[in-house]
Amino acid sequence: MNAIVETGAVGKKYGRQWALRDCTLTIPAGKVVGLVGPNGAGKTTLLQLAAGLLTPTSGTITVLGGQPGTSPAQLAKVGFVAQDAPAYARLSVAAHLRMGDWLNPDWDGELAGHRIERLGLDPRQRAGSLSGGQRAQLALTIAVAKRPELILLDEPVASLDPLARREFLQSLMEVVAEHGTSVMLSSHLIADLERVCDYLVVLVASRVQLAGEVSELLASHHRLSGPRRDPGTLPANQEVIEASHTDRQSTLLIRSDGPVLDPAWTIRPVTMDDLVLAYMSRARDAETSRRPGLEVVR
């Protein structure tokens, strides 16, 4: 499998604070990868490391076979749309495209022009007066027209209204369909990712909790409900991710290699939302139980 992003215990420290620590993951090529996790999980840091904006404090990161940001050729292979899609407020849309043309050897001016036209942006308008959605589209246009192999997007739709959000993701999907570009985007809105991603990475406190093809993940996870019982009595190939019990009933979210055969269970499929939340809360519970709790002193 050829990986687009591969990290080996990568870490980044700001002052004394670790923003990302011991993060190991492999992301296959040709996918639209959703990177989910709570705030502070290290999503932005990971994406900026991959874009070459940051250099790791420890560990290694390889993007498309090279060290991020180290050479013009490496930079040309990766398109980056930063959080809030920064743009030069005083430069026009056209000037931004000229910048793209001048700074990128493989710049596709025709593609950029078409996109701007289709989006209905006035090339003479200053970037400072664009709406958030328009600015995000401009940033995406610049990232796409440099014809990269991988586009990284950091919370691209977080600050957009629902309509702009849908339009943005739609145009992202068009790009993927047309050029077969690999995409990795972070978001904490699972609904958005559900629409576009075919690969999911759940990152909590720098650690990868879950990674895999969305279709496989959804097929291998089930929500079971039935009479109350101890989760420990389940077959060995069924891993409990989340369990909740009432007096008489148990509801479990399990991961299973094979089909669930026990007729006592009512089996329902899981949504991506269920999955992400289950893995995030499991990680959080593990984190809390690792800390020493309060003890009653007699």
Binding site: L53, P72, F80, A87, G100, L103
Partner: protein, 361 residues
């Protein structure tokens, strides 16, 4: 990258060119008349004319323009540092646009190198051109005032402004990289540049080449004011006097600027009928009887008393040591100053590149 750096610098370049053009037009309109006035009237002023009043009239011509043009080169380097240097990196960091700029297919080292070189050289060129214009415009006035070596004038003529511009610009970039915020970086640039420039012109500039030294007798001030500078034959008009110290027979410094002691006065004290020079010692010579007191005709001490004081000064071996820079060293001093500031600029450039690599990843 060069084209993009140019695109980003359009506004500031336009502003600088406008300033330069305004100065050029003003100078072109008024300069020839000023030079003509000098050539025809002031330079040819012979002993039978009233040269003093001619000179005064000449110096007061275009007074307003003089007042406007003189400080432009004083502030220009500081402005280049604050408005070109400081925002170069700081504004990108502040607005987040560095994430856009540094993810194009140009390494950030190259990005900084191109922007640094382009804006820095443009700043130096603008300072140099403005200095060329002003040096030409003020040439006749400087010829009359003979003050080209004084700190206020030395730094706004010739090639020194180029060095200041380079230094201020590099200082601004460094401040921007270290502080990461535009306005504080601009303020820091202005303060530090002004401080260094002032300190340098007072404490370093006169000593860039070891000043010449001349030792001569200390001459009493006359009724018409201070005595002529001693060693007047050595120090010519236009030379810059760096220091005037008064020393005693042993060579120890006992005063400055033609006076003795902290108050800088020459005082005679009479104790038990023996006159002594205050701060030095008893006078070996005899003084004339002071029948009418110290106040002679016209409220001044009598002439024979002054002669006795002068003799006392001479016989006690009190002399004056003057250090000075001759005007003939003008260009060597200009080169030294310019090269030092350009060198400082290169050091700061290295520092900013290093910090840029180290801190911003």
């Amino acid at each position: 990258m060069i084209r993009f750096a140019w695109l980003q610098a359009r506004t500031q370049t336009a502003a600088a060119v406008a300033v330069l053009a305004a100065a050029a037009v003003l100078a072109a309109v008024t300069g020839p008349r000023l030079l003509h006035f000098y050539d025809t009237v002031v330079a040819t002023c012979g002993p039978h004319n009233d040269c003093a009043s001619v000179t005064t009239t000449f110096l007061s011509s275009y007074r307003l323009l003089q007042v406007i043009l003189q400080p432009t080169l004083l502030v220009l380097p500081a402005l280049i540092g604050a408005f070109w240097g400081a925002p170069l990196v700081a504004r990108e960091l502040e607005t987040g646009t560095f994430r856009l700029a540094w993810t194009q297919s140009v390494t950030r080292q190259r990005w900084l190198a191109v922007k640094f070189a382009l804006a820095g050289l443009a700043g130096m060129a603008i300072a140099g051109l403005l200095s060329l214009i002003l040096t030409w415009w003020f040439s006749s006035i400087d010829q009359v005032q003979l003050n080209r070596l004084t700190p206020g004038v030395f730094g706004v003529r010739g090639i020194t402004p180029i060095g200041y511009a380079a230094f201020a610009f590099a200082l601004g970039v460094t401040a921007g990289v270290l502080i990461r915020r535009t306005i504080p970086a601009m303020a820091a640039t202005l303060v530090v540049f002004t401080g260094i420039r002032l300190a340098f012109s007072v404490w370093v500039e006169p000593y860039l080449i070891a000043p010449l030294r001349v030792t001569a007798a200390l001459v009493m001030p006359t009724a018409n004011g201070p005595a002529a500078t001693p060693g007047a034959s050595a120090i010519k008009a236009g030379d810059l006097v760096v220091s005037e110290q008064v020393i005693n027979a042993a060579g120890r410094v006992i005063g400055a600027n033609g006076g003795i002691g902290p108050n800088g006065e020459i005082g005679i004290q009479v104790t038990h009928g023996t006159p002594s020079l205050r701060g030095v010692g008893a006078c070996p010579n005899k003084f004339p009887p002071l029948g009418g007191g110290l106040r002679g005709s016209g409220g001044q001490p009598p002439a024979d008393f002054n002669a006795a004081v002068q003799e006392c000064i001479n016989r006690l071996g009190v002399r004056e040591v003057v250090t000075y820079q001759p005007l003939s060293r003008y260009w060597p001093l200009q080169w030294d100053e310019t090269l030092i500031f350009t060198g400082l600029a290169i050091v700061l450039a290295g520092l900013s590149f290093w910090q840029f690599r180290r801190r911003l990843t």
